[in-house]
């Protein structure tokens, strides 16, 4: 059933009897044209665009838990396209364009909310670095504004301007940036992909690969072997583990990033604000919770939880930026396992194993990439060539030295 005001009214009047499952719960078929491993945003978007853009509908998305149980379901939902390097910017802007029409396309309200992303700066050097970034965005036709302290104050008068250790001197603003409802993105893609015939197989873990010689010809799962012409990995934090089963070693480490939500509050913060003198960023969800986070814990982890020092560090940043938060209560904190790549940028590429394709290395920034990642991965899977916006995201760039290192910290994932 199409979702609309009408369907809502009708069902309201008839005791919600008309609704059907948002997606089917099929049993695995013996073989598919394409298998996507990983039912996060990226995997589901890939399946959707395979079906929708490339007419490849004999597709399965295989998810070990429930869809959205990975980082798609636990991120701080920031979407933006304020990247610096030419290897990244066109891709993230393409993603932003897709966000902007996503809800109508999927017939699902993912609450894409373009209330602005503001990155604060506290020194001249930081300002110039943001200017460099803002200019790079403009060169690609993307909106960006460099604000001075007064410009920031006009938007967020309650930040600590008076008593700060690192005074706010301005910020880089992307008005088109903002947030989207994480779960809705997953569900929207799942429902739309399902409607086009994609099988979503939940509670089905990929435990190995089928192969003929070098070529990958399918997957082993907890629900039996499933064959496929092509297998695409979109398993984010589990990338090394799953790719390892195909004998691959990758330039990726798994790290935990924590996220935090406060009790629900009346509107307080309109857009997204990031603190440039500490690790802290914050926005407010449509339900009223302040959603915030900071730096990664910094050690390899698969545990989906972090430790007190980072929690304290994040809240120190929060209080330094917004001292009115002192009596706001933290409701819940959790962690997600991120696929931190060695230059902090993603990989969308073939692998040395024919038939096996890789979508990984999203670090703490892949939610915003969900639509474009799906689009470009589908493109690669369908046509065996990189999409024009993802050409730099090659796996061999580490070998050749064509790195996409936005932060300039080098081959140390925990610093990206």
């Amino acid at each position: 059933m199409r979702y609309s005001v009408l369907s809502l009214l009708l069902n309201g009047l008839t005791g919600q009897r008309g609704w059907r499952p948002a997606w089917r719960e099929p049993n695995p078929k013996p073989a598919y044209d394409v298998i996507i491993v990983g039912g996060g945003g990226h995997g589901l978007a890939t399946a959707y665009y395979l079906a929708r853009q490339h007419g490849i509908r004999n597709v399965a998305v295989i998810e070990k838990g429930y869809i959205g149980s990975g980082n798609a379901g636990r991120n701080t939902t920031i979407i933006r396209s304020n990247y610096l390097l030419p290897g990244n910017e066109p891709f993230y802007e393409w993603s932003m364009k897709l966000w902007e029409g996503l809800e109508q396309e999927l017939n699902y309200n993912a609450m894409v909310s373009q209330r602005g992303v503001l990155n604060l700066y506290h020194s001249d050097a930081q300002r110039d670095a943001y200017a460099r970034r803002g200019n790079a965005m403009r060169l690609h036709g993307v909106d960006s504004e460099l604000l001075d302290a007064e410009g920031v104050r006009a938007m967020y008068p309650f930040l600590d301007f008076a008593n700060a250790r690192f005074p706010i001197r301005g910020g880089l603003l992307q008005r088109r940036g903002g947030t989207a409802r994480h779960d809705a993105v997953v569900w929207g893609y799942a429902r739309a992909a399902d409607a086009l015939g994609v099988d979503i197989l939940q509670n089905c873990e990929v435990t190995g690969f089928l192969s003929e010689g070098d070529a990958i010809t399918g997957v082993e799962t907890t629900r039996g072997p499933v064959r496929a012409k092509k297998v695409g990995l979109a398993v984010a934090g589990s990338t090394s583990r799953v790719a390892g089963k195909a004998g691959l070693r990758l330039p990726i480490e798994s790290h935990v990033l924590q996220a935090f939500v406060s009790e629900g509050l009346k509107p307080l913060i309109d857009g997204v604000v990031t603190f440039g003198a500490g690790h802290f960023y914050i926005s407010q969800s449509d339900k009223g919770g302040l959603v915030f986070g900071g730096d990664i814990d910094g050690y390899n982890s698969y545990a989906q939880r972090g430790n007190l020092p980072v929690i304290e560090d994040v809240c120190e940043g929060g209080m330094a930026l917004m001292p009115r938060l002192g009596r706001v209560r933290l409701l819940r904190h959790w962690g997600g396992i991120m696929d931190m790549s060695m230059d902090g940028s993603p990989i969308i590429d073939r692998t040395p194993r024919p038939g096996l394709y890789l979508n990984a290395g999203w670090c703490y920034g892949g939610f915003k990439a969900t639509p474009a990642s799906g689009w470009c991965f589908a493109h690669l899977l369908a046509r065996d060539e990189a999409h024009e916006t993802a050409r730099a995201m090659r796996l061999d760039r580490f070998r050749t030295g064509h790195l996409i290192d936005e932060k300039g910290v080098g081959a140390q994932p925990n610093l990206h």
């Binding site: 109508q104 309200n109 909310s113 060169l139 309650f158 009223g288 209080m319 064509h402 300039g408």
Partner: protein, 997 residues
């Protein structure tokens, strides 16, 4: 507020009993209405005592809500406490300790609690089922941002955050113990006492202000005396032991790795304001070898139509209000239950003086002893019945159905008990999953974090006798584990009261909305809808309906909700499972995690050795990382920083100036292999550096990009001192330690940071030598011959002060860096000022320093971006080809060795008056401004007073081959777009004659 006369008793205060101090009265207000209570009251007990039943509005439908619990699980009675900068939204009245002058305000209602316009949402409820917003608000797209979302956001949330900075302070404390006992009910007390008597270091943490747990809320006896007396006695014993720390008002909120527990102590929340020098709250990081979770259990409701009407409460809460607070939660109650414990609660309430209309038990078989006792107390027992509706604005009556027959009963309170859920939250903080115990109809702890064990009700030992025994045994096990000897202790005598239960969740045949999650307004129907739409896994159920996502995190609703889902899917509760519990156990103020680290104290400030001197010189300071450094030194009459900086630069170039450069990292390297070591970490060679000489060095990361640069001097055959950039000081030190300890442990090198030991002042300008000559001690020759460019000299200055003189130059002038022990820094600065006075010596700040290094084309932080190679910076030729060094191999990768990479150039505006800005991108002239045409960017700019125009450094594709070309400096974010000429990155004295002068 002046209290009422102490003798006036509030309407619902029982004549006697309770752990409250009736001799004192506390005045408080709710929605501006002045009321009073007693010490020992919570806000909730005091409100109930005053007959206040309506205290809040629910999240979505704005339904009127009352108090349902007597503990932290409260979903409904949330209020704003205090006001102004101290406003605390969403505060649970049930755990708010009453104090004199407390102001509480209801929230999420407009215009008033009694008349809330948004309660129309309730009428729209049929259309606002779970997840309705995902299905609508999409057309037309533009309205989302303009209309729908703003409206949704306005409606969202409950309370309002404070509008000003939190005026109170917070602090953090570390504690260590053998055993942490979480909860001071019978189990916790026994665990703590057992361990303490065995000599263990024990911390007993209790969330409540009154320790004792359910012993305060129930009337059971221990060792023949009321339970609360046993608690008091045990607590007195513990308080007297030096190895025990008793902490009340302290919630253990999270279990972290390595036996680290997070706890928050509410030091001053029970006071109008923190006392002098007292924080509002303290964060405790407790490292415990063992921990016992004796957190008790939480009573669950039963879901039925109209179950959210104010007046419907948990049975154990009614019991607690009666026993602990001396309050009749209602005058006439009915009880609706599925278990034996609720009967006992009822009897106690009756004994305390409440009227009891009936006990309705879903079970048709109830233990005869309970029936007999009910009869003895004159209570009507209705086995096999259910409540099918409620009525009244606040509860006025219920409808029950027994054997197909309906009956109305007039009551103003309904005490409900669906059984008890162990408070096992903390056992799940490491990902452990609870296990379903059908006998208890409850989840009990499964695998627990290392070192943590649950005991008492938290472990599913729900009776008093069992809790006491279990606490004792768990305490004994814990201390035995860590090697202490436990002498046998006799458990106190207490009853194992009947605790039979029949699982029962939901009265399907009831009328009216039946709420599962009362705060987020999730109804049984919503669960059915989620089921219908395929959101059947508990995690999807939670996320789709928001069940359990409110401030109470589903403490009373999770199990019921998943049980209803399990009924729908037929999968059973065990297979359905629970959602994961995450910290914090109860919500914790953000401020306490920050402690003192906010405002100016967010991070410690580092001061240079000449800070005070610079202050006296009128310096303007600027943060550079942790340091405060002098940015420039304005003089009276100067109106613009650029005017000041120009003066400073000119003065240096014309005569002499000085600047504190102590912030550079300084690393002392000694040992026979020091030279060989430096050869491996720098791209150039240091083993051949003569003693008494310094050399500029560049080091790479192993991936081939530049990590840092600086000069390193050889002080002796096996003694070097290295300087690093300010920003990278710690990183370089750590890197060098890695090289020495991990890569090449065979190298005999001893490293020490001497960054703090030495004050270092750069003296620069044509007159620098003359000034220097006046401060060195007699016999020190600083002539060009004795101390040539890049020469180093150890000597004394100012009459015996040990000093190191380095003839180096960042400014391009004849220059020295003079290092003296840090405490002599100011003396040196003043001596230089005096010695330089005849030459007009000018203190300069880091702005002027920046100008001069840009004029000289020296790279700095902006160029050492971590994205540049040595070749990019024009330093490639420095690399020795005769030796290996860190990063050599990887630097040869094609992407890094590509000659087309943007490389360092100088830039000057074609229009001499134009201003350059760092961050502008470089494009060929006459082509569209697009990414494809982007050829680099400006890294650093300065106004050169020497040249009379702006200059810059930049990274430009094939830059060094393009000298003389014009490119476009494109800076749309600042409205800049101008032509610049590419030139060599050295604007002044390219041959270096001045610095050798």
């Amino acid at each position: 507020m002046s209290p009422l006369p102490a003798n006036r008793r509030a309407a619902n205060r029982l004549a006697a009993g309770g752990r409250i101090d009736r001799s004192r009265t506390l005045a408080f207000s709710f929605d501006g209405r002045r009321l009073d209570g007693h010490p020992g009251d919570t806000l909730a007990s005091a409100l109930l005592a005053n007959g206040v039943k309506l205290v809040g509005r629910s999240f979505k439908y704005h339904r009127p809500r009352g108090i349902v619990s007597a503990g932290p699980e409260e979903p409904n009675a949330l209020v704003e406490l205090r006001g102004g900068a101290r406003r605390e939204p969403n505060s649970r009245a049930t755990v708010t300790e009453l104090f004199d002058g407390l102001e509480a305000t209801s929230q999420n209602r407009w215009p008033s609690l009694a008349l809330d316009l948004l309660s129309v949402n309730g009428l729209l409820a049929p259309f606002l089922g779970a997840g309705f917003y995902y299905k609508t608000f999409m057309w037309p797209a533009a309205l989302w941002e303009k209309l729908y979302e703003p409206a949704i956001r306005r409606a969202a949330g409950l309370g309002r955050a404070a509008e000003a900075a939190d005026p109170d302070s917070y602090e953090k404390v570390n504690a260590f113990c053998d055993l942490l006992v979480i909860g001071s009910g019978p189990a916790g007390l026994m665990a703590a006492r057992t361990a303490a008597r065995a000599g263990a270091r024990v911390i007993l943490a209790e969330e409540d202000f009154l320790p004792g747990g359910r012993l305060n809320a129930e009337a059971l006896e221990v060792d023949g005396a009321p339970g609360h007396l046993f608690a008091a006695r045990t607590l007195a014993e513990l308080a007297g032991l030096p190895n025990v720390r008793l902490m009340t008002r302290t919630t253990v909120f999270g279990v972290y790795d390595g036996g680290t527990y997070g706890a928050v102590e509410k030091v001053s929340d029970h006071l109008p304001e923190p006392g002098p020098f007292q924080p509002r709250q303290r964060l405790w990081r407790i490292v415990a070898r063992r921990a016992i979770l004796a957190a008790g259990a939480t009573e669950r409701p039963i879901v039925f139509g109209g179950n959210d009407r104010p007046g419907v409460m948990a049975a154990g809460a009614v019991q607690a209000y009666a026993n602990r607070f001396g309050v009749a939660a209602a005058r006439q109650v009915a009880v609706f239950a599925n278990n034996d414990g609720a009967w006992r609660a009822t009897f106690e309430a009756r004994t305390a003086g409440l009227g009891v209309a009936a006990i309705i038990d879903v079970r048709s078989e109830v233990p005869p002893a309970l029936l007999a006792r009910a009869q003895a107390l004159g209570i009507r027992a209705i086995p096999g019945g259910v409540v099918t509706a409620t009525r009244g604005r606040t509860l006025a009556g219920i409808e029950i159905t027994v054997g197909g027959r309906r009956e109305q009963i007039a009551v103003d309170g309904l005490a409900v008990s669906g059984g008890w859920s162990p408070n096992l939250h903390l056992t799940c903080h490491h990902g452990g999953r609870p296990v379903w115990d059908p006998r208890l109809a409850a989840f009990v702890p499964g695998s627990t974090p290392p070192g943590l064990e649950a005991a008492g009700a938290a472990a599913g030992r729900l009776t008093l006798g069992a809790a006491l025994r279990d606490g004792l045994e768990a305490g004994a096990r814990a201390v035995a584990d860590i090697g202490l000897i436990v002498h046998p202790i006799e458990p106190p005598k207490a009853e194992d009261e009947p605790a039979g239960i029949a699982a029962f969740w939901h009265v399907a045949a009831s009328r009216g909305p039946a709420f599962v999650d009362q705060q987020n307004d999730v109804t049984a129907k919503d669960i059915a809808l989620a089921h219908k739409e395929g959101f059947r896994s508990v995690e999807h159920l939670k996320r789709y309906t928001t069940l359990g996502m409110a401030t109470d995190q589903g403490k009373t609703s999770n199990v019921t909700g998943l049980a209803i889902m399990a009924e729908l899917t037929g999968a059973g509760i065990e297979a359905t499972g629970t959602t994961i519990f995450r910290p914090p156990y109860t919500p914790v103020a953000l401020g306490v995690f920050a402690g003192h680290h906010r405002g100016r104290e967010f991070r410690p400030v580092r001061l240079t050795p000449t800070h005070g001197w610079a202050e006296r010189q009128g310096a303007v300071f600027i943060e550079t990382g942790p340091w405060l450094r002098a940015q420039y030194f304005p003089r009276p009459g100067e109106t613009d920083w650029l005017e000041t900086v120009n003066r400073e630069v000119k003065a240096v170039r014309a005569s002499v100036g000085m600047i504190d450069v102590s912030t550079f990292g300084k690393i002392d390297l000694q040992g026979p292999d020091a030279g060989a070591f430096l050869d491996r970490v720098y791209i150039n060679t240091f083993s051949t550096l003569p003693v008494g000489k310094a050399r500029y060095g560049v080091m790479l990361r192993e991936d081939g990009l530049v990590m840092d640069d600086g000069t390193t001097a050889r002080l002796g055959e096996s003694h070097y001192v290295m300087t690093t950039t300010t920003a990278n000081a710690a990183k370089v030190f750590q890197h060098l330690e890695f090289c020495l300890q991990v890569l090449w442990p065979e190298l005999d090198v001893q490293m020490a940071s001497v960054s703090e030991q030495w004050a270092q002042i750069a003296l620069a300008g044509p007159k620098a030598r003359e000034v220097l000559a006046r401060i060195v001690d007699a016999g020190t020759d600083v002539s060009d011959a004795a101390l040539p460019f890049m020469g180093v000299l150890g000597t004394t200055v100012l009459g015996g002060v040990p000093a190191r003189l380095f003839r180096v130059s960042f400014s391009g002038e004849l220059g020295y860096e003079i290092a003296v022990p840090a405490r002599q820094g100011e003396r040196l600065a003043e001596a230089l000022m005096a010695a330089g006075a005849p030459f007009g010596i000018t203190p300069y700040g880091i702005e002027a320093l920046g100008v001069m290094r840009i004029e000289k084309g020296h790279v700095s932080g902006n160029e050492l971006s971590g994205q540049t190679t040595a070749a990019d910076l024009g330093l490639g030729r420095m690399a020795s080809t005769r030796k290996d060094h860190i990063g050599r191999v990887m630097a040869a990768r094609p992407g890094l060795a590509d000659p087309a990479r943007p490389s360092l150039v100088g830039l000057k505006p074609v229009d001499g008056a134009a201003r350059l800005r760092a961050g502008a991108h470089l494009l060929p002239p006459g082509v569209p401004a697009t990414t494809a045409n982007d050829e680099g960017y400006i890294t650093s700019v300065a106004y050169s007073p020497h040249l009379g125009h702006w200059i810059g450094l930049g990274l430009l594709a094939r830059g060094p081959q393009r000298l003389g070309e014009r490119v476009r400096a494109y800076d749309p974010v600042r409205g800049g777009d101008l032509e610049v000429e590419v030139c060599a990155p050295c604007f002044l004295d390219p041959k270096g004659e001045r610095l050798r002068g």
